[in-house]
Amino acid sequence: MTVKLGVPSKGRLMDKTFEWFGERGITLGRSGSEREYAGRVDGIDGVELVMLSAAEIPRDLAAGRIHLGVTGTDLIREKLANWDMRVEPLAELGFGHADLIIAVPGCWVDVDTLDDLDAAAAAFRQAHGFRLRIATKYHRLVRDFLRDHGVADYQLVDSQGATEGTVKNETAEAIADITSTGETLRANHLKIMADGLILKSQATLYRSRAAELSDSDRSVLAELVQRLGVD
């Protein structure tokens, strides 16, 4: 058996993850060609690198198919019910910062708080005959947040990309999405609501509470955790 470490398989998130482990004496890298999703680990024995889509890492952690995984807080919270019973956050990695926020058109000068959004949604439904649409891919997080804050008369519409454009295209009236600098929002004439911060997310190293460990795995994991300085 080996301790399986799942990391994002491409892009900046992968590069920064490799860098973070490298700074702690564990060298991660792809084996073979650039296109092959297999990895290698130098600097510690008994650890296997599994290259995965960041969006799949929560599910694999929850199922115990990997022992450790690097992914965003937002994905863990969105995809796992009772996330804290399924995974344990070991370390925040200090990159991949993003806030999940609710944004509305800048021209809605009357809407600044969730209280406003709720009232505007009621009036919108009266005027248009359907509920105010909020485009997002974070259905569970957004719905829970809006329910907890007593916002009614809205509906979520699914948007898996280019969410900021949905308002201009009139397929949604508002959006809930992740943003790091807010620049894309401003470029699309959207503003963040004053109390519309749903979650602050960053790349985080998680341990699965479900993955089985042999005795040797356990000592490898202990060594890894100690080497990474996250115990």
């Binding site: 021209c107 600044d112 209280d115 509920r131 007593g150 201009k168 009139e170 004053a194």
Partner: protein, 373 residues
């Protein structure tokens, strides 16, 4: 061997048998058995309950019929079936699975049997309320349960009677079932919470649109202006008085046995006459319950009962709880839902709806409790 919700097939058969018994009992009282589809058009349920229903019901779809929901309860399909040509008065009973998405608690069932009875009869609402309550009580008589009752209509009537603008009353009534939002609105309307600085700046601005860039989206400039007008009107509306806020709080704190609760409510009605008719309805129901043999002297009444979890009820509400098992959801529950029938009636040419009251029992919980006794 495959299990059903972690239970043996023997347990499952027992639950089925119990469900048949319950339905036969409701039939014996004159209710007509009806069957309802499991897959319901999602649009109707979404329109009624809003986005929250997606968190509670399973949604699926096909390319032909679009989004479908696995029935989360029988009320909506039974009302729709009745409106499709049922004669009044009518009494229906049904038995079948309902499906509830569970995202927090793995122990809670996501599929279980429900047996229910619904009465569509406007002749004597108090008698119909009492009849449903007693039918459900008799159906669950095999296990010791505590009954809780309430009446959402009291709070609604109290809001109607506030000395404030219609807009504020509408806002409060819209959030009757969301206690937190209701309280924050009441705090704001009564001047107990400060006006947000951005709100004050907006209302003070000579031209609120001075710094607005591109105007995008379906919500028009006219709609934004209309809301600013509404906010201005609201800012000019005098605060709801401390006296009236105290009366609302007094209503929400009524939690007594029914006769004492009635005394409390009558006292409050002296200062808030708008609830008088609703209190009279509670009194009439109390008599109807007593006439059917319910010991009202020991029956609990809470004015706030059902507020946070029984959204479509707008009058009488009740629940039966296993006191020894606080981990279990209510074994039975029900109430009056006249408003829901008006909402469903709009599309069916029945905008006035039908006076309706109903209750459901969970035979699975009954069998579980009987087994433990």
């Amino acid at each position: 061997m495959p299990t059903w919700q972690g239970r043996s097939s023997a347990f499952r058969s027992e639950v089925r048998a119990c469900a048949s018994r319950l339905r036969a009992g409701f039939e014996a009282s004159g209710a007509v058995p009806v069957e309802c589809p499991i897959l319901l058009p999602a649009a109707t349920l979404l329109d009624l309950y809003g986005e929250d229903i997606r968190g509670r019901a399973y949604v699926t779809s096909d390319a032909l019929r679009g989004e479908q929901m696995m029935r989360p309860d029988f009320t909506v399909p039974v009302v729709q079936m009745h409106m499709d040509g049922g004669a009044e008065p009518a009494r229906y009973t049904y038995s079948g699975e309902v499906f509830r998405r569970q995202e927090e608690d793995e122990v809670r069932a996501n599929e279980y049997l429900q047996v229910g009875v619904e009465i569509f009869d406007g002749a004597d609402p108090a008698a119909a309320d009492a009849e449903v309550f007693v039918l459900v009580r008799e159906a669950t008589a095999g296990v010791p349960l505590r009954a809780a009752t309430g009446d959402i209509g009291i709070l609604m009537a109290a809001v109607d009677g506030l000395d404030t603008s219609e807009a504020r009353k509408a806002a409060l009534k819209r959030h009757i079932w969301r206690p937190r939002r209701f309280k924050s609105l009441l705090d704001r309307f009564s001047g107990r919470s400060a006006v947000a600085p951005t709100r004050a700046a907006l209302l003070a601005a000579a031209d609120p649109f001075a710094e607005v860039g591109a105007e995008i989206g379906l919500r028009s400039r006219g709609e934004v202006e209309a809301r600013i007008e509404a906010l201005r009107a609201d800012a000019a509306t005098p605060a709801i008085s401390d006296r009236e806020v105290a009366l609302i709080e007094a209503i929400l704190s009524v939690r007594e046995t029914l006769p004492y609760a009635l005394t409390r409510l009558r006292d409050i009605a002296v200062d808030l006459p708008s609830i008088s008719a609703a209190v009279t309805r509670v009194a009439a129901r109390s008599e109807a319950l007593a006439a059917r043999g319910v010991d009202i002297a020991t029956l609990d009444f809470e004015a706030a009962f059902g507020r946070s979890h029984m959204e479509y009820y707008d009058g009488f509400v009740f629940g039966f709880y296993a006191e020894a098992r606080p981990d279990l959801p209510p074994v039975a529950s029900g109430g009056r839902y006249d408003t829901l029938t008006r909402m469903l009636g709009r599309g069916a040419g029945r905008p006035d709806g039908i006076p309706a009251v109903g209750g459901v029992v969970r035979p699975g919980l009954l069998v579980e409790l009987e087994g433990a006794a």
